[in-house]
Subunit: 434 residues, 2 copies
């Protein structure tokens, strides 16, 4: 501590969850004690910790910290100021312990997007009523300080759109498919072996984890209550290598892209595969890196990019929140009081967009004309169409439409199914303007 | 205002400077009054304004605000809480009025990088002694909330390096040279006509404006007193079209790149043209957009990108600071108390790097061998060398060295001058690992 800073009491943390993130946080606090104290004006101390197994060797010495088997008991301890929830899961101990912390008047820092996406409004109301802080920088896009940017740095903006690639595993799979020509299944297996997948892999590849994050960002951006159920979700499981290759030939990349924007009829939130121009910042994003794009009336567009997961980056985000609390920052959970957040209904994408369509036609005379007719009837005009050379009775066809609504497209897809010239289900992927 | 928010007094601003940025701020406050109040929990009000000319039509109705001819008088008014300095210039009225504001107990928001780069330490000490806040988000990289990210979001990190492209005009010139094949002088003229240049264009193309910004970021990143005089500055005036083209052929772009890193002997700060890989985020940055890269022990690397100037983006950054003050955020100017910031001496780049060299050799036998010998004597080995086909007595030669120190390179340049086979001065540009 510098000589002339006044003596201020330490900020005392109770950390529940000693896995990747929890241990990362402890390492930072031990390694950078002097630096943190200089910046916070007071020491950052750890009082007590909790995890399931007390005996596990976690590679750091925990003997200075009190141990609690029960995270709820940890949350209530008199000798902590901040309850740091790094267990995960949106029910059970994480939720119980956060509620206990609020009742006991403790501030909370968490990395738990599932918890926030499912119970953000309830927890924010409770925290604000109790006068405690609930902070969650690490829950979205790992180390990128996007919660802070959106809640504080861009607070002068009416936000028009938030977009993001926020699941590193999905982006890794998609970029590796393109780079190596390997298929989805092989890369899924590789991710499982590398430990890149959640215990329930559908959280990753089904877009759920990224959807949680989008729902949190939407709430801040649009002053609405978190509404994860209103997020339109589509995973990457159905993306074929050939779609990635065709997209690349046309100058696009396929990304699992989250988009949130307010419409006159409700909040549009979707986390779905999209085509984006390969020269755009989002198109150029490779591997496990995350990117969030925020557009507002004054800022125009700002892009943040960084590691979306991992011990160091996620712990960095947790520490950002801890430091804010140590320094006395106090703002409402989602940027305005939770009791002023508006409930919203979700709406499907309404803004027209071009779509990429791939379908396989039976090699019958007039098949292509029938497809064109169905699209035309739905009000969809064709920008580009390409029939891929083929030997068999099946003719793959690629179409890029002009802008059309998702409704029109769905009408067309129903119509196509009735033509008897389309084999299987067409693939339809939105082309997002970024 | 939402019905159930408690009545809180407005935050009252006095705005000195009604140019691009000042008018942008007024527009946001008028357009988004309700949104700002929801987020800040209190209205944001403008009480009084000041500029040189009272009569100028500025496109917005100023009749609700008191007028002051003298910004110092504005800064002292009883009916303002925050003095918003948007005049510019590091001496004269901007500095006088900020000092007056501090004495009068007013918080300050400014966009003035020159002021901060030259007097940041003095002003921060005075502000902290008086218990007022001095905020300057808009002074670096326009709308990008980089001050907040570095001071707060990344406060858990020991920062190892900060890099940035932070002058949009220079980046515009460099990317246009590459895209259009036009020379520096033509593009400089175009920028002058488009109003992209400061009144003293050397502030832009000489790297001074960007150097101011780098000095500010260094202070936060490394806990040091702002030391603009220690920034090694080199402008873009000497960059030739052929250097841009040769760099492109080798997979590089030339950027006016700021780099700050702490060394054992002092703080290395430089704002100079560098080669960066064309596939890197920095390499891909086109036009007037800015980008800042921050590297730390936990975060690894985070990249922020956005508009570096302009009415809306700059006003967005000013409003971020205003909102922080309205919400009660209070942290030291540079992230830790100004009286704990260490004074630093500047050091020249010490880390070895590869360099790009272009020189013109007289077409004498053994010329190339002499060059190679001089480099070898300086301990510099050659990675790639290319003699460009030529008809005349002059032979242009391109060399990419292996990693060497700047000292070694300077020794070699002195040696080359003595060989009598090099025409004019060689061009030497560092290749930065990004
Ligand atoms: N890992 C990342 O890169 C990352 C990135 C962003 C956000 N997050 C979020 O951060 C949180 C933690 O993630 P993680 O990767 O660190 O998880 P992890 O490695 O699986 O660690 C979870 C920890 O919580 C403990 N725990 C689980 N249930 C518990 C219970 N009932 N009582 C007490 N302790 C319990 C575990 O104890 P044992 O060790 O004894 O089993 C373990 O120490 C999650 O919400 C996750 O979504 C993680
Ligand atoms: N423009 C940008 O994109 C941008 C981006 C980042 C940071 N900044 C910084 O923001 C600040 C303002 O920039 P700007 O572009 O808005 O400048 P600007 O358009 O030239 O406006 C400057 C304003 O200050 C007023 N002014 C100058 N001297 C004054 C004095 N002695 N007393 C009272 N008023 C005085 C001028 O009055 P009159 O109008 O009556 O002449 C004018 O309204 C500068 O520090 C600049 O570096 C600008």
């Amino acid at each position: 501590m510098s000589d002339n800073s006044p003596l201020r009491p330490p900020l005392r943390l109770g950390i529940a969850g000693l896995g990747t993130v929890g241990i990362g946080v402890i390492k930072i606090i031990r390694r950078q004690a002097a630096l943190l104290e200089d910046r916070a004006g007071r020491p950052i101390a750890i009082t007590a910790v909790s995890a399931r197994s007390r005996d596990k060797d976690r590679g750091v010495d925990l003997s200075d910290y009190a141990w609690e088997d029960d995270p709820v008991a940890l949350a209530k301890r008199d000798d902590i100021d901040v309850f740091v929830e790094l267990m995960g899961g949106h029910e059970g101990p994480a939720k119980d312990a956060c509620k206990a912390a609020i009742s006991a008047g403790k501030d909370i820092v968490t990395a738990n997007k599932a918890l926030l996406a499912h119970h953000g409004q309830e927890l924010a109301l409770a925290a604000e009523a109790a006068g405690v802080r609930l902070r969650y920088e690490a829950s979205v896009a790992g180390g990128i300080p996007i919660i802070k940017a959106l809640t504080e740095g861009l607070a002068g903006n009416e936000i028009s759109r938030v977009m993001g690639v926020m699941n590193g595993t999905c982006n890794y799979i998609l970029t590796q498919m393109q780079a190596t020509g390997r298929g989805y299944n092989a890369l899924f297996e590789e991710c499982a072996e590398l430990g890149y997948l959640e215990a329930d892999p559908n959280l990753d590849v089904g877009g759920i984890d990224a959807g949680h994050k989008l729902a949190i960002l939407s709430s801040i951006a649009f002053g609405t209550q978190v509404n994860f159920d209103a997020v339109e979700l589509e995973g990457i499981q159905r993306i074929q290598l050939e779609d990635i290759e065709h997209a690349a030939e046309m100058g696009y990349r396929i990304k699992l892209l989250g988009v949130a924007q307010m419409t006159g009829r409700g909040l549009e939130q979707r986390m779905t595969p999209c085509l984006v121009p390969d020269s755009s910042p989002l198109g150029q994003l490779e591997g496990g890196t995350n990117m969030v794009v925020v557009e507002g009336d004054a800022i125009e567009q700002v892009v943040l990019r960084g590691p979306g997961a991992g011990e160091g980056p996620t712990a960095s985000a947790v520490m950002g929140d801890v430091m804010d609390i140590a320094r006395g920052l106090r703002i409402p959970t989602f940027g305005q009081p939770a009791n002023t957040l508006r409930p919203v209904t979700g709406v499907k994408a309404m803004k027209p967009a071009p779509f990429y369509l791939r379908m396989v036609l039976l090699d019958k005379p007039g098949a292509l004309a029938k497809v064109a007719a169905v699209l035309g009837d739905a009000g969809i005009s064709i920008d580009r169409m390409r029939q891929i050379s083929h030997d068999q009775k099946l003719a793959p066809v690629l179409i890029v439409t002009h802008k059309c609504t998702r409704d029109a497209l769905d009408t067309a897809l129903v119509g196509l199914a009735k033509t008897n010239v389309v084999e299987g289900e067409p693939v339809a992927i939105r082309i997002e303007k970024v």
